[in-house]
């Protein structure tokens, strides 16, 4: 009997579980007999060899072997020892600028480790599988590390990586698949962290390729870190783990920040000016035979360096003269002509695509919108908001008068309505009141838009003059805080208190140096104050990440870590330029000194509306006032 026919017959007559089982065994017996017959007559068509990959089970407790780089991974690296790291100029100068006292700053005290460093860290790890309860297909592999409670999730279900404007985290977003002997993992969306604990940076642009190979109780982890911001070439590291038979029951790594240095000025970020890191001399004194190459670099990791002439390390302690470097970071803003929606938290959304991030809060009342983009895609923005709420836009808040914040004002306002003023005495005086959304901002935004002859319907009408404007809308307390003389003289930070989302406008971006518009009241110290104002309102969820979310004017959805790194950058560049100004340096001399050299590959621009030189000049001019 044909198996299919037999199967059909059996299925048709099966009435209960026991009968099915009985008949199945009968069928198996029939097939078995046939198979035996076939098996006696070679050649036999054995099942084709499946070129499938092994499913590698990482489950269990793992302890890292510290037979490589044990000092660096254990007690910690020496200052100015960057050996074995293929750093580029920016990475090296960032590290040389790093003062360990930076970790005493409140917002750095609980910084976690980024994934590649976590995998090198001391402490035990635990791995387990997550399987679909119905299909038992592997959904994810989890890897939890004792140090800093670093928890990785490696998605095994084929899901796609998030868009570039999605948040970053210490562990990033990882997907895996089994390839040959290995679990192969790809990771994106990492936060900025470090390659080593002496300040050698790993940027938020880093991506990982990893391979986990297990042989019994021995696991070898290989990671390839590609970081064009701080590396000349990918960094490859391999780490061995030994499987432990028991749970050591010690998995927590508590951290709470607090005051470690009292009365420190809020704009004090410990750093060394170029050429002034005391760790360099200490290292060379301690390791006279390994001086050449201790500041890292791509060439130093190859055999030719070992046999070549000694390198002049001192020449590497300052920026190279004449170099002009632009950002190599991925632009997180889509350029496909569409408006993309990312849920931030609860009823708050981020709209990306129209040349500047837009935030929309929805609820029982009309949408509350923060900023309106350039307006080139205003119709699509309105359509996207309409998909989030059936009500017309009720409020628009502008964080600044700049065109990327207000460009869509006219269309978005016109599409909306503010029912809160209809039927009031106000509407009796102004018949048009409530027709169209109400636009809020600091008064200086309205002043500058009026001075620029903006369309009257695009200009904010609900303005404030001091400290803050507050309202309760869609079930949340919303506050606009004035950030005087930051990017301009009319910047606002918008805080959705219940959702705990801060909209930073152009005070904070992840894409460029701050656009300090000196002509319109911007100053570097005001910018630093504004960034610190954001940090005064944020609370991280765990190990320095999560919690309060911050929507930048441009770039990816962030939390306080991105803001604090940005704040540090502005302060450090300010300190360098201020030191030069105090020596009487001219603007050209300041530019030639390249005070942004360690940040150029991340934020720099040689062309466009806001170049590195414009930023340096803005800082210089406000410090000269």
């Amino acid at each position: 009997m044909e198996p299919d026919r037999l199967l059909g017959t059996m299925t048709a007559v099966a009435k209960d579980r026991w009968s099915r089982r009985t008949r199945a065994i009968a069928l198996a017996a029939v097939l078995l007999a046939g198979a035996r017959t076939l098996g006696q007559a070679p050649p036999v068509a054995a099942p084709p060899a499946q070129a499938s990959s092994a499913a590698i089970d990482l489950s269990g407790y793992w302890t890292p072997a510290l037979h490589e780089d044990s000092t660096e991974r254990g007690a910690g690296p020496e200052m100015a020892d960057y050996s074995g790291l293929p750093l580029n100029e920016a990475g090296r100068l960032f590290a040389l600028s790093y003062d360990p006292s930076r970790l005493t700053l409140r917002h750095h005290q609980c910084d976690g480790y980024v994934a590649p460093y976590q995998m090198r860290a001391l402490g035990n790890s635990r791995a387990w599988e997550e399987r679909d309860p119905h299909t038992h297909q592997l959904v994810a592999i989890h890897w939890f590390s004792q140090t800093f409670e670093g928890k990785r999730t490696i998605w095994m279900d084929g899901r796609a990586h998030p868009p570039a404007y999605a948040p970053h985290s210490w562990m990033g977003f990882s997907t895996g698949r089994f390839v040959g002997t290995a679990l192969a993992v790809r990771t994106t969306h990492l936060k900025q962290g470090w390659f080593t604990r002496n300040g050698v940076p790993e940027s938020d642009q880093a991506t990982l390729q990893e391979f986990f190979v297990r042989r019994g109780d021995h696991l070898t982890h290989t990671v390839v870190v590609t970081d064009p911001v701080y590396l000349e070439e990918p960094l490859v590291r391999t780490t061995d783990y030994a499987r432990q038979p028991v749970d050591h029951q010690n998995w927590l790594f508590p951290c709470d920040d607090g005051e470690q240095v009292l009365d420190r000025a809020p704009d004090n970020v410990p750093n060394y000016l170029f050429g002034q890191n005391p760790g360099v001399a200490e290292y060379r004194k301690k390791h006279p035979t390994a001086q050449s190459g201790h500041l890292g670099g791509g060439a130093t990791i190859y055999p030719a360096f070992a046999s070549g002439p000694p390198r002049n390390e001192s020449a590497l302690e300052r920026p190279a003269g004449g170099a002009r470097v632009a950002s190599v970071a991925v632009n997180p803003e889509p350029t496909d002509g569409e408006v993309h929606v990312l849920r931030v938290r609860d009823n708050v959304y981020m709209l990306v695509g129209d040349g500047g991030n837009i935030v929309v809060q929805v609820g029982a009342e009309g949408p509350f919108v923060v900023d309106t983009g350039t307006g080139r895609l205003a119709d699509k923005t309105i359509a996207a908001i309409a998909r989030l709420s059936s009500r017309p836009i009720q409020f628009i808040a502008n964080t600044s008068f700049h065109a990327d914040r207000t460009g869509g004002n006219l269309k978005l306002r016109t599409s909306g309505a503010d029912p809160s003023v209809r039927g009031t005495f106000f509407s009796l005086q102004f018949p048009g009141a409530g027709i169209g959304a109400t636009i809020m901002s600091h008064q200086n935004v309205a002043n500058r838009m009026n001075n620029a002859k903006a369309a009257s319907d695009a200009v904010p009408t609900d303005t404030y003059l001091e400290e803050r404007r507050r309202t309760f809308h869609n079930g949340d307390a919303i506050e606009l805080f004035w950030a005087p003389n930051a990017v301009t003289d009319g910047d606002s930070l918008v805080h959705f208190r219940r959702a705990d989302v801060i909209v930073a406008g152009n005070v904070f971006t992840t894409t460029r140096f701050p656009f300090i518009d000196v002509a319109n009241g911007g100053t570097v110290d005001g910018e630093i104050r504004a960034l610190n104002d954001i940090l005064a309102k944020t609370v991280y969820e765990h190990q320095g990440q999560g919690g309060t979310l911050v929507v930048p004017g441009h770039g990816y959805l962030s939390d306080e870590h991105e803001v604090v790194e940005y704040r540090d950058m502005v302060v450090i560049v300010r300190d360098r330029i201020r030191a030069l100004v105090r020596t009487g340096a001219t603007l050209e001399q300041v530019k030639a000194a390249r005070p942004t050299a360690d940040y150029d590959t991340r934020y720099g621009a040689l062309t466009g509306p806001w170049t590195t030189e414009m930023f340096v000049e803005a800082v210089y001019r406000t410090l000269r006032k």
């Binding site: 059996m10 099915r20 008949r23 199945a24 065994i25 069928l27 198996a28 097939l31 078995l32 198979a35 035996r36 076939l38 098996g39 006696q40 070679p42 036999v44 054995a46 099942p47 060899a49 499946q50 499938s52 990959s53 092994a54 590698i56 072997a65 037979h67 490589e68 780089d69 044990s70 000092t71 050996s83 074995g84 790291l85 390839v179 040959g180 002997t181 290995a182 390729q209 391979f211 190979v213 042989r215 070898t220 290989t222 390839v224 990918p234 960094l235 490859v236 590291r237 391999t238 780490t239 061995d240 390791h287 035979t289 390994a290 990791i301 190859y302 055999p303 360096f305 070992a306 046999s307």
Partner: protein, 260 residues
């Protein structure tokens, strides 16, 4: 239906076993033809770990990371490169226990169908990795590279490697890919590091060679090494060393051993 499928699996598995019993054994493939991964070519080390101990000869007394026992420390404390040179043993740091960590390229070729050969730039050493059945005799007192026995280490398939009732689960066949496993013994005593960190003639060194093809076209080879030496080590010494494949022989420049 579920029971039916179980029956089908049982039946086909038994059929496989019977088929294998009934067929004459196929001649084993030569290791070269059976290689699950291609390790041949030129490989350059990426010295991103233990840099200070690998790129330069570390100073005497700097043994960081190596789990030495007191006997090893005593030996290392008496390290004298001049003495090694005078004894004609300037290659002590280039033996199988140390040569893979030194700053130099590797050239890997098939010497014959059953023997892989690793030539090192550092110290111009030659390692021969003999697969089962191959005969590579050690020198009378063993040489720096000892006797290396090689095998392909293949991962088990998704359902295990063994046939039914064979103890390995229901699956048949192996997964794709694999590693090269090398176990080396019988070497002359040498140095794990050039500054005199010793290993003994009784050490057993087990290595696994893996190959990873990266996005963008680069190829990595990772050599995970376990050195077991109760004479001088308080625990197995684990390192993993990585190399990037080179397209050709550019830069290949074997050098002589140096005790310093």
């Amino acid at each position: 239906m579920r029971a039916l499928l179980t029956g089908l699996v049982l039946a086909s598995s038994i059929a496989i076993v019977d088929a294998q019993r009934g067929a004459p054994p196929a001649p084993p493939q030569a290791p070269r033809n059976a290689a699950p991964i291609d390790l041949t070519g030129y490989w350059i080390p990426l010295i991103t770990e233990d840099w200070r101990y690998r790129v330069v000869t570390p100073p005497a007394g700097d043994y960081t990371s190596v789990p030495m026992n007191p006997a090893a420390r005593k030996i290392a404390a008496s390290w004298d490169p001049a003495r090694d040179e005078a004894a004609g043993e300037q290659c002590r740091g280039y033996g199988v226990g140390g040569v893979m960590r030194l700053p130099g390229r590797l050239r890997i070729t098939w010497q014959d169908d059953r023997t892989l050969k690793i030539e090192t730039e550092a110290g111009s050493q030659v390692r021969t990795l003999a697969f089962g059945g191959s005969t590579v005799a050690p020198t009378a007192d063993g040489d720096w590279q000892g006797v290396s026995r090689a095998s392909w280490d293949r991962p088990e398939g998704p359902m295990g490697s063994g046939a039914i009732f064979g103890g390995g689960g229901f699956g048949a066949g192996r997964a794709s890919g694999g590693s090269l496993k090398v176990v080396t013994t019988g070497m002359k005593p040498g140095y794990l590091r050039k500054n005199g960190v010793p290993y003994s003639a009784s050490a057993v060194i087990t290595e696994y060679f893996d190959r990873f093809d990266l996005d963008g076209g680069d190829v990595l080879m990772v050599v995970a090494t376990e050195t077991v030496d109760p004479t001088y080590l308080s625990q197995p010494y684990w390192t993993s060393t990585h190399f990037k494949r080179q397209a050709n022989a550019t830069g290949w420049n074997p050098t002589a051993c140096s005790a310093r």
